[in-house]
């Protein structure tokens, strides 16, 4: 990257590396428990539902809806100083898990709880691509 990335960067662990590799390829990957069948996010070393260590990786639809959100108007971290106001949200995926993310490609005042969204993949560095969401037409 030509420009220095100034915001907090995730530091993948061995456990989470498949998620970040997927994001770099434009895939939203979730773990799924081979024992109880539940989807798991964030990546873990064992299933938080049944404590089985037998977790596999699947590619999720990337579709979900805004479960809740806020418009951040004062940045906590200096790296976000030029981005306010921006939308911080919790998105509930079709597969069930919820994740923290940003809603992009829409004015903050147009975001609503329940709004259908789809994943977009924003490279931050060569190694790290962040999964954010934008509005989608309901199908």
């Amino acid at each position: 990257m030509a420009q220095e990335y100034r915001k907090p960067l995730p530091q993948p662990t061995e456990t989470s590396r498949p998620f970040w590799e997927g994001a770099r390829r434009g895939e939203l990957r979730l773990q799924r428990c081979r024992s109880c069948g539940e989807y798991v996010f964030y990546p873990r070393s064992l299933c938080p539902h049944c404590l089985s260590p037998e977790l596999g990786w699947t590619t999720a639809s990337g579709r979900g809806h805004v479960y809740t959100y806020t418009v951040v108007r004062r940045p906590a971290h200096p790296g976000f100083r030029d981005e306010v106001p921006y939308v911080l949200a919790i998105v509930e995926l079709e597969e069930g898990p919820r994740l923290t993310t940003n809603i992009v490609g829409v004015a903050p005042e147009e975001v609503r709880i329940g709004m259908p969204v789809e994943a977009v993949f924003e490279p931050a560095t060569e190694e790290i691509t962040l999964v954010k969401f934008r509005p989608r037409k309901e199908t």
């Binding site: 907090p8 479960y67 806020t70 108007r73 329940g114």
Partner: protein
Amino acid sequence: MELRRSAAIVGIGELRPSRHPDGRPVLELLAEVTRLAIADAGLEKGDVDGLLVAPPLAEHSLMWPTVLAEYLRMHPTFAETVDLGGASACGMVWRAAAAIRAGLCRAAVCVTGDVLDPDSFYGPRGGRPARVPGREFESPFGPMGANSGYAMIAMRHMYEFGTTSRQLAKVAVDQRVNANANPDALFFDRPLTIEEVLASPLVCDPLHLYEIVMPCTGAAAVLVAAPEIARRGPHRPVWLLGAAEKLTHMSLAQAPSLTTSPIAYTAPRAFEMAGVTPQDIDLVSVYDCYTITVVVTLEDAGFCPKGRGGPFVEEHDLTYRGDLPLNTHGGQLSFGQAGLAGGMSHVTEAARQLQGRAGQRQVRNCELAFVNGNGGIMSEEVSLVLGAD
């Protein structure tokens, strides 16, 4: 082993919150409120054999109880670091009582305090930052500390139940009336109206600046003692009648529910242990880092049905002279939040009211208090029922 009436709060030490720290190390603040609590209880240092400390946010150390014990040349037989965020104070009170009931100590001082240092809320603590999921899956998206978390709870509460900003503002305004009767409160001499709350800048939608707690410097401690000590003390003993604790999540995205907190578990159990109901309560003293926290707490504790918290706070007078006195010291919103001492302020105020020592803001015939400590993003909850004899 039963916790009910196992111990009582017999002494209070509290520093006046300040926006202008004098540069003293946090250890000196902790030492000062420990001294004050022991003196207030009419005890000597040698009588105290339990020490519980909540880790300050601004200054990091290992083994705070040992650091403080050494500083004061105390040699406790029971010590604990209680790390439940804003719920630490309430968590310390029942742990002290349990240790006393188990015979590990007879008089335990529970200590909280912090110095004002906004950077420390977000900055690295001592050592290498832990490789926890929040750093990997939340921080990259720019959360604004607790502000954005509680804002997302408020947004969801408004969506599910139609709660309004005007209703939330009423909480801040009633608590300000209380602060205006408390000379120790940061906002003692500044009245507040609902219009002013709604006109204050949005920080994280839908939360306005005046719905958000004010960080400051301060410290607070209570002394929890065995019944035989409590009955000899200079003040009315403030008995622990009920207690319960529950933790559910660190990241809000992992919370089982955004609008029902673990208080829905802890409060009914605390009431059951005490053998009372919300209708019996004379004073509500509950964590108020944000206005929405109070509304969710009142619902989950059973003061009103789920979703009715907004209309409930509009229909009731929450001031010290009202029909449901709530956070009569001003709450942290108007008294100030000195790190984890903010959570202790709800305990000290309940004790003061039950002892009849609350001065101008004294609630008449105050016999029974509900106290709630809340940590994280409604992540960790401790409910207490306290009663005077």
